[in-house]
Symmetry: C2
């Protein structure tokens, strides 16, 4: 797989016209008149997000973390997840991660270690998520938003990973984060060395588009 | 974590009115007038998908798989992914998985092993994805849709997992699938025993909502 930009990796779509069809404080939906990769006319409905999703896995010195349970309105289902929230585009992601961790758990963290970037639903949306592991934790008071009715679950990271593996957790950001931590854990021993976590490289393209 | 339905897991949102604001062959967008969990009025924009996403990781007897590279229009970025496609709601997911595998790679598979269910972006969408491992592979001719300009990459599953870990792959469905395979692989030896894979339990709620 070539890492560089080669001819086949250039955009094969042509955008002819763009119309805004819906907007609220969180998303906007545009319908694009396009020529598809075969050169034929068509439409593409694109959902753009006004926030970057940040995910945070706080891990204390004993290996314990918090999961958050909440009812997910679009899915009509209760969902157990890592700490997640929105960071307005342009705000450094670390500020958003600190705020969401504090709001949902009351925790502050001495260290945020980059874990991964992911794209949740790239056939229709531009939603980008960046996930951190937070260590060096100190407890304060949680202040969830009123749209959030959250239940905190204090559990060992191994238990959270087991719920990711056995299908209890289905949220994509949470699944990817917990399974990647499982992988790091197996490769690097546990508890993780913060210096090791700090050395996880972040692809340059995401650092440029969504700076920490 | 309670697995049963208890009071705190019931829906704390009240829907007062629903208005369709956009629809195309793939998605519809509705704006709901709601009372949020604190009982205050607000709006919720929900993006509903007309297909269930299916993901397929074909693995041959030597441990080789295929990744697909394509330009993702909403994201304005080239993306390397597992085989993915859409299965119209109501169609058994295995039929959709067989069709997408054949279209994108020309492969047919003797066995489809359930790997995971996930929700790609549950703050705004109801998109559901189900991923399979396909084994017992036989090569035919690929027939991609004209909206797809795909590049196939034939590589060992260990290489694909490495790309999931090092940030080359950012697509959520692909990341979760490859990291879960890494986890199975470490627990169960390699190549995987098809009988073992067949025993991966699927949570009943997803089997009821999205039957295989």
């Amino acid at each position: 797989m070539s890492k560089g930009q080669n001819k086949k990796e250039t955009n094969p779509w042509v955008t002819q016209h763009t119309k805004l069809v819906y907007s609220n404080p969180w998303i906007q939906v545009q319908e694009h008149q396009v020529l598809n990769p075969a050169g034929n006319p068509g439409i593409y409905g694109v959902v753009s997000f006004k926030n970057v999703a940040v995910g945070i896995v706080p891990i204390d010195s004993q290996g314990f973390t918090y999961l958050v349970g909440q009812y997910r309105y679009p899915l009509n289902t209760y969902s157990w997840e890592i700490i997640e929230g929105g960071c307005p585009i342009g705000e450094p992601l670390l500020l958003g991660a600190q705020r969401e961790l504090a709001e949902e758990t009351g925790l502050s963290a001495a260290h945020f270690h980059y874990l991964l970037d992911l794209h949740t639903s790239n056939s229709v949306t531009d939603e980008h998520a960046t996930v951190f592991i937070a260590t060096g934790l100190e407890q304060g008071t949680a202040l969830p938003e009123e749209t959030e009715q959250l239940t905190l679950q204090h559990c060992h990271i191994d238990q959270a990973i087991e719920w990711a593996k056995n299908g209890t957790i289905t949220d994509a950001i949470s699944l990817a984060a917990l399974l990647k931590i499982d992988s790091l854990k197996k490769n690097a021993g546990w508890p993780p060395n913060p210096n090791f976590l700090s050395e996880l490289p972040r692809p340059q393209i995401w650092e440029e588009r969504y700076p920490l």
